[in-house]
Amino acid sequence: MFELFRTSYAYYLANQDRFWMELGRHVVLSGSALAISLIVCIPLGIWAARHPASAQYVINAVGALRLIPSLAILFLALPYLGTGFGPALIALTILALPPVLINVYAGILGVERAVVEAAQAMGMTARQQLLQIELPLALPAIIAGVRTATVEVVSSATLAAFIGGGGLGIFVTRGFALFEPRIMLVGAIPVAVLALICELILGLLERWASPHRQGRAS
């Protein structure tokens, strides 16, 4: 076992340039997918929370996307979108949408009715209500959604290598093809560490976003 890690490390030392390039690509790919999902989901989630009756369909449709395995999304995209960074990005974005959207929606809807009414009665405009009251109160939920999505996207981005999207998955596919576990580990371990780091950072961010909940039992 130790021997395996040692040879893995040796492989990394011999291919440092390639490793850092693929790591960068992995991060850019995941980050872009998350950024796009946020840009789409925040307005969509707010709209949905304002129109819960009609929004139910949108939420359910997006929720259904969750049921499709990520590998299937990647391969389903293949015939239409071809290979490379773009299709991988689209597939990962689709993966990130449901958790982010649902948490934006639930976060906004979860703001206590009396609080929204008070904001209204104080004479806030709709915009002020959203920016000063609803979004800040929904922020912990939104960050929790991003956290779920991030872990999912960072680990699934490994699969992008299958359709030529690059990233750390390159080492996994190569190791797989060559029956060389040491090469696979050069991809797999950093992905796991990366996901863990994101999880930690977003967890801290979530705490920071809810100062008013600290010290509460829940």
């Binding site: 206590e112 008070a118 104080m122 004479g123």
Partner: protein
């Protein structure tokens, strides 16, 4: 100070067959504390929320200081009207001082002015200054309600709307806050509309009470008049108008002394008897009388005995109010009562 005039104010919710508030008309004088009293579903909260247009009326007009409320931009109208509710509606992510500063900030007050006002308000509602940095969940229910009151008063609005603000509090805290509201009202003379379903609270706070039933005003009068001259069976039952003790609670010792024959200042008043003050209510006085087992108690004002209150005094003042209840309606001055159907 602000005058509120409603003329056949109506709210018909789209999915309901009957209007929640049905062509209600009334006039509130500046500086009055008006209690809207009625069972749940009677339309009192709906009526309240039409004043600051949280609900838009579907009919009638509402004049505030002679200006049609609809003619103002709604945010501007609301910033001039304080609002306090049972669930407090405090913003959980904002500290106490930020909560209080919301309306002044919307109105664009300068920082130092807001600072000064916050201190003033915390003092007014009886919260220590070091509470300013706390979050609402770090406060007790009563303290939260005080912050809610301070927030509603922040920009010194002439009108205050209060929707069962003390409804969720325990009896002791509630009665303390009622006292403080009355104290604040004596200082500030706001025009207050206060919703409650608690008759005791209504009698205690109100200058005048609007009794509501099924979206209409059943009676609009002073607490004493509502108890002594209920306009119909509904008001009588709701307020327990035949409750002698309740009626006694609205009369003062001073009034009873005026009614009975003036007792000669009793020589050698026993020192250990609990003294009464002229401003005490008669329910309290009766309790003291019965508790002491005496037939009379000294009434002390400013350290000087002004008379003796006897059970006979209480008996003497009661027939008047009882007679009024039994009397025909023309004996009663029932202002603003809805026509009987």
């Amino acid at each position: 100070m602000s005058m509120i005039i409603a003329e056949s104010l109506t709210k018909q919710f789209s999915r309901e067959s009957r209007p929640a508030v049905d062509a209600v008309s009334f006039t509130v004088e500046p500086g009055e504390l008006i209690v809207l009293l009625g069972p749940s579903g009677c339309g009192k909260t709906t009526l309240l929320k039409m004043i600051n247009r949280l609900y838009e009326p579907t009919g009638g007009t509402l004049l505030i200081d002679g200006v049609d409320a609809r003619s103002l931009p709604v945010t501007q109208l609301r910033r001039r009207i304080g609002y306090a509710i049972q669930q407090t509606g405090l913003f959980p992510h904002l500290r106490v001082e930020q909560n209080i500063a919301v309306v002044p900030q919307l109105l664009g007050w300068a920082r130092p002015r807001i600072e000064a006002r916050t201190n003033e308000l915390l003092d007014l509602v009886g919260l220590p200054c070091d509470f300013r940095g706390r979050y609402p969940h770090q406060l007790s229910g009563g303290q939260q309600q005080r912050v809610g009151l301070a927030r509603a008063l922040a920009a010194d609005p002439a009108i205050m709307l209060m929707d069962e603000p003390f409804g969720a509090l325990d009896a002791i805290t509630r009665s303390r806050l009622q006292d403080e509201l009355l104290g604040i009202q004596r200082k500030l003379h706001k025009t207050i509309l206060f919703v409650t379903h608690d008759i005791e609270e209504a009698l205690r706070l109100a200058d005048r009470i609007i009794v509501m039933n099924d979206g209409r005003i059943a009676q609009f009068d002073t607490p004493l008049a509502i108890l002594t001259c209920p306009s119909n069976r509904f008001v009588e039952q709701l307020t327990g108008a035949n409750d002698v003790l309740r009626r006694l609670s609205l009369l003062t010792v001073a009034a009873a002394l005026g009614h009975g024959r003036r007792s000669a200042a009793a020589a050698g008043a026993v020192a250990d008897l609990p003294p009464l003050r002229p401003q005490d209510d008669l329910r309290f006085a009766l309790t003291q009388l019965l508790g002491a087992g005496e037939s009379s108690l000294p009434v002390i004002d400013d350290g000087r005995e002004v008379g003796q209150l006897t059970l006979a005094d209480l008996r003497a003042i009661l027939p008047q109010t009882i007679a009024a209840v039994g009397a025909s309606q023309d004996g009663c001055n029932v202002a603003g009562a809805a026509p009987q159907t």
